[in-house]
Symmetry: none
């Protein structure tokens, strides 16, 4: 057996439905993908319900499933995973939130939920981190900027719950809501009070911040309020290395995916020029993958752009981006020391511009793999493959078995 490493290549939102612009084909069927097709021809294929048939996956729940941490047991909301992805080290029991910088007018109404698509909010986050004080509650916090207008908040302390609502009004022209507890539990009551105090203090700090004053002078929307949502208590993840006896790494642009990877113990490997969209640095990602395989046994590489095109409903753009992905993957063909698995985390069909429960195509190629007759990587061809229909929670175990890292159950 020469294969002793695993490449898990997740083409985010790759699955689709028949598209009118593509004469009833899916973008993946319509795309010319000689590299992916060669991998399919040299390997075994199938379709996969990343969570279960008819269950419409989120990117968070599906990635947990693909990494063998079933979301039914491990998913505790997006907030703590985003916080991890923004660089906050989340300990088990901490309460995490996704956050946005938004613009509020003089009447307290939200006028832009993305603060004019502000970039690089690190100075604002640093000011909040320095000046907000929650010690009256016995609570400490971390606040970190993410990409663009995004950020994350995490709370630590005794007696905090995750059952609280968001202050995000979800539409412009409305004032931010109060954060409310969703139960009478004192833990949820306390978290709600802490959140409202955090928002009060941070709003005051932002109002007076030089960066915001400069934005107003420039005619830009200031980042005058923090909207938080997706509260969740950080779960306890058995570390990936311990669970699978593999050193693992994650390469991804989306903070959610890097957050999940870091939460389970994968090392985050940054790549210059990645954007999480169709303009991303694909070649850089694949080159980084190759380098990371020299030092790690398992690499999760997430390529996000197809999902974005699906959300936008742009079938032709999705097809074209898939062709660019394919061209960037040529280096994979030379790796015979790896089991290479290509899959989606979910379908994002252009006709509905949203995730769907349609299964994703999957291929596995490498030493020891039973080769089926399928010659192409797409939703229809792979449905005739030798894997038949599998579940996301099983895929990593199937791959582990191929590199001889499973343990016999019984004798």
């Amino acid at each position: 057996m020469t294969a002793h490493k695993i490449v898990m290549l997740v083409l985010d939102g790759i699955g689709d439905r028949p598209c009118g612009e593509l004469a009833g084909m899916t973008p993946l069927q319509a795309a010319k993908t000689p590299i992916l097709d060669q991998l399919a021809a040299e390997g075994i294929t199938g379709i996969m319900d990343t969570i279960g048939p008819g269950i419409r996956p989120g990117s968070d729940t599906s990635h947990l499933s693909l990494l063998g941490y079933p979301p039914e047991s491990y998913y505790t909301g997006r907030g703590p995973l985003e916080a991890e992805g923004c660089g906050i080290h989340m300990e088990h029991g901490m309460i995490g939130f996704r956050a946005n910088f938004a613009t509020q007018n003089d009447h307290g109404l939200v006028t832009d939920r993305r603060a004019g698509r502000i970039h690089d909010t690190r100075l604002l986050s640093a000011a909040i981190t320095d000046q907000v004080d929650l010690s009256a509650f016995g609570v400490t916090f971390s606040f970190a900027s993410g990409a663009g207008h995004r950020a994350a908040l995490a709370l630590s302390g005794e007696g905090l719950g995750a059952g609280v609502t968001s202050n995000d009004p979800k539409e412009d022209g409305v004032a931010p809501h109060q954060v409310m507890p969703v139960s009478a539990n004192p833990e949820d009551q306390k978290t709600a009070a802490v959140c409202n105090e955090f928002i009060r203090q941070s709003t005051a700090i932002l109002a007076d911040h030089p960066m915001n004053r400069a934005r107003v002078l420039n005619g830009e929307s200031p980042a005058s309020v923090v909207l938080i949502r997706g509260a969740g208590e950080m779960g306890g993840f058995e570390p990936f290395q311990q669970r699978y006896d593999l050193s693992g790494a994650v390469i991804a642009a989306a903070t959610l995916v890097t957050g999940i990877g870091k939460a389970v113990g994968l090392e985050y490997i940054p790549v210059e020029g990645v954007t999480g969209s169709t303009t991303t640095n694909l070649t850089g990602k694949v080159q980084t993958l190759m380098a990371t395989l020299d030092t790690h046994d398992f690499v999760l590489l997430n390529i996000k752009g197809a999902d974005e095109a699906g959300h936008d409903g742009h079938a032709i753009e999705k097809r074209d981006f898939i062709e660019r992905i394919d061209a960037a993957l040529a280096l994979l063909l030379e790796r015979n020391d790896c089991i290479i698995a290509v899959m989606g985390d979910h379908s994002t069909p252009c006709p509905i511009k949203e995730h769907s429960a349609d299964p994703v195509p999957v291929l596995i190629r490498g030493d020891g793999v039973r080769v089926d007759l399928v010659q192409a990587y797409d939703e229809i061809a792979c449905a005739a493959g030798g894997l038949n229909r599998i579940r996301g929670a099983d895929i990593l175990w199937i791959l582990l078995d191929l590199i001889d890292k499973t343990h016999k159950y019984g004798t």
Copy 2:
């Protein structure tokens, strides 16, 4: 409906991966198997995870699964099942162990863990049974010889646990270990003390036994110590006849498989000349199967040799043995009163010489079966079959339904 009986033919370790010696085919693909192929052509096929996708089965857990006793609920270690297979009637709650006769030198070091591959240890087992006395612990025991150097031990009494280690040093040149409890529970402490006393007394009996003195004179390794392992508490199995309303029988060479069969209430039908290897009496097994079908509704026939060839990594020998199996199965084609199901209990790929989680091919042929388009019985062809991908715990229920022995759930 003419079919009212079930043949479950388990080709032990039949599944494989592409083998270099066979130009990338599996042994089952490479073998000429006209009988199995005819059964496949006349029936429905599929692939099966005997426990679950990516789970590497043992022979014990997989057979429990195939018989509809899911190992998650019913598996309590190999010891009690081996003991049952060695002819000890295991009651629920008894503690069972696998045992080996081994050779110890004058310094107490193990020099041969198989005692010179001794044959027929029944006189030794009788001496141990007669002379070892554990009544000081309020414990009774059974000790029985298996094939070659193998044996089994079972303990009965109040307050015994199964949480103990083995005395087997697992390598030559080392003294046997003390049996240790794995917890502070008094039950485990008691079992450990009982085991150590059993080993002390049996070692003294073996030292002085005429058979061993004769072996030493002949320059053979004496069976001077008993090594025990695989401790488990016998589970409670709802009897097969009661569970499925079928009289059942098991035909197998491996004591583990006969033990599992007997544990769930199948009648063990011995066959002359079976060996559990590629030299076994295949025709005798199939003739016995035919005779047993006159008196029983369900027969589990296990043919072991392909597994052995897989463990040895001999792809060509495995292919050739599969051809011999196939030739011996001709009588099956004439049985139209049976649903015939052919499957593996797990794959034992020659390239890895160990069980793997790769699914096994399965076929079902008989009256009422939907006939698919697959014309061959092998790992790749069956993956395109009408059963798709099923689980071992489901197969017996599928067969029961074909002979009208399932009950409607609801109305």
